[in-house]
């Protein structure tokens, strides 16, 4: 995609699941330090841009922890999703690059609004997610997420996550 003029950045926000391993940021320096650890841990090649401490850009775009947007050179949102999903981002970029080609060939192009309901694979999600949360956030972060899920999605959902934690030897 980079060869076709598409740039990609990671915009670093507040910690979604603060815990003992990665506490909430109390200064921009805290945030930059955690962003560095994140970059090293996952070997992120693309530029990491760190939002100011109070999250002005994160909030302006919608405050979700893992959303993705595609913006045009003219500064218009072309795509946005509540979740980062590589398959739908690639699909959207192919479509949007076709529009750019149409414009370049001097065809008149008129935009229209559309929406899409995306999906992500869910099998074993509880275990995969809790493993990641334990490793990145720590025990406190994992326990809190179990409690929050039980509150917002009901006891059965909370129980699924608690069992995943137990299976990982941390419940």
């Amino acid at each position: 995609m980079a060869a076709r003029g598409v740039a990609s950045v990671f915009l670093y926000t507040r910690e979604a699941h603060p815990g003992e391993q990665a506490p909430h940021h109390t200064s921009l320096e805290d945030k930059l330090a955690l962003a560095s650890r994140f970059q090293e841990r996952w070997r992120i090649a693309r530029p990491i841009l760190v939002d100011d401490l109070d999250g002005p850009l994160h909030r302006a775009y919608g405050t979700l922890p893992n959303m993705t947007h595609i913006v045009s050179p003219g500064g218009r949102i072309l795509y946005r999703a509540a979740w980062t999903d590589a398959a739908s981002i690639e699909w959207a970029l192919e479509y949007l690059l076709r529009e750019a080609e149409e414009r370049r060939s001097s065809k008149r192009v008129a935009p229209f609004y559309s929406e899409l309901r995306g999906f992500r694979a869910h099998d074993d999600y509880a275990r995969t997610f809790m493993r990641g949360l334990l490793a990145g956030g720590g025990r406190q972060a994992a326990e809190e997420f179990v409690a929050a899920t039980a509150t917002t999605e009901g006891p059965a959902a909370g129980e699924r996550l608690r069992r995943a934690l137990e299976d990982l030897g941390a419940g």
Partner: protein, 63 residues
């Protein structure tokens, strides 16, 4: 409170509804602001990064 020290019990649902209903949508101007580039510690405008071509912005954190 933006930087919560612990994950709130009532997280998620209200934010997803607001994202769908009131955050800037496809076709709207993309919000601009200042960021700190991690590699250089230099402050730039987010719009500097979309000027030359479509920009994919992935939001996230360590956790």
């Amino acid at each position: 409170m933006y930087n919560y020290p612990s994950f709130p019990l009532d997280m998620d649902n209200a934010y997803f509804a607001a994202f769908r209903g009131s955050a800037p949508a496809a076709g709207d101007p993309a919000p601009d602001g200042t960021v700190t580039v991690l590699a250089t510690s230099v402050r730039r405008h987010l719009s500097d990064f979309w000027r030359d071509g479509p920009l994919v912005i992935e939001f996230g954190s360590f956790t």
